[in-house]
């Protein structure tokens, strides 16, 4: 069940730091303000990194969750 409507999705599974963030930034560039992006990652460092990236760039992190060793983030383009 998805509570937030997702506009774009990015599968970053298997990628190591810093590529999930790099790919997220590149994807965000193609998006319009207000659109949401879901990122799936398997990099354990991404929990802290997506929160930090959100604070640095000002793009709100709407959701951050994990299931086993898979991490899910929902970001909104500011």
């Amino acid at each position: 069940m998805e509570l937030i409507a997702i506009d774009k999705r990015l599968d970053a599974r298997g990628l190591a730091c810093p590529m999930p963030i790099v790919k997220t930034a590149q994807m965000m560039k193609t998006m319009a303000s207000g659109e949401t992006l879901e990122v799936i990652s398997t990099d354990a460092g991404s929990i802290k990194d997506f929160a930090a990236w959100s604070r640095t760039t000002g793009n709100p992190l709407l959701e951050s969750s994990s299931d086993a060793a898979v991490y899910r983030f929902v970001l909104r383009k500011a």
């Binding site: 810093p18 640095t56 000002g58 709100p60 909104r76």
Partner: protein, 188 residues
């Protein structure tokens, strides 16, 4: 003695409520943050963090500039260029230290190429981006690589020996200017 309420401590300006309950973003900086890295070494274990940090910075909306100097220039030599320089000493340097982003040595445990080979194997096993992939990401994200003119002269490197997309060569005063203006500067 009775305690008197202190109405003067109450906030006089109420902050505006968060729009539609969304988490508040960090205060938007009026000025773009800047980071500068002085990339001095041409070794794998230093080029790697340089490229990881600069790509992550650019991905985080931080304007990133890398001042490329001394041994640090060699990984930025074009793929097809093997022997660089004019005199025999400059040529000999490029023979002993093969230039190019795919030919990096380790600062320790190089063991005549055994160390970098093991690093490459581990890198693939853990799906870590190679220096080449990171360099491409950096360039796509707009990281500015500024070659040091004096080091280029000493190694006999010409502008056309270096990869496309690098900034115009500059000197120490440029490095000082960008470092003192930046929010963070590193020497790697």
């Amino acid at each position: 003695m009775t305690l008197v309420a202190e109405p003067t401590l109450a906030p006089t300006i109420t902050p505006p409520p968060a729009p539609d309950g969304a988490p508040q973003p960090a205060s938007v900086e009026p000025k773009t943050k800047q980071m500068v890295i002085v990339n001095w070494s041409g070794e794998l274990d230093r080029i790697w963090p340089t490229l990881i940090l600069s790509s992550a910075a650019a991905a985080s909306g931080v304007q990133c500039k890398v001042f490329v100097t001394f041994w640090g220039l060699l990984p930025f030599v074009k793929d097809g260029v093997r022997i660089t320089g004019d005199g025999w000493m400059q040529k000999m340097l490029s023979v002993m230290q093969r230039p190019g982003i795919d030919h990096l040595k380790l600062s320790k445990m190089n063991f005549m190429g055994m160390g970098p080979w093991m690093m490459g194997t581990l890198r693939k096993q853990y799906q870590i981006a190679s220096p080449r992939e990171l360099l491409e990401a950096c360039q796509a994200l707009g990281v500015e690589f500024i070659p040091c003119q004096m080091s280029m002269d000493m190694f006999g490197l010409k502008r056309e020996d270096l990869i496309d997309g690098m900034a115009d060569p500059a000197g120490a005063a440029t490095a000082i200017e960008i470092m003192t203006e930046a929010n963070a500067s590193l020497f790697i």
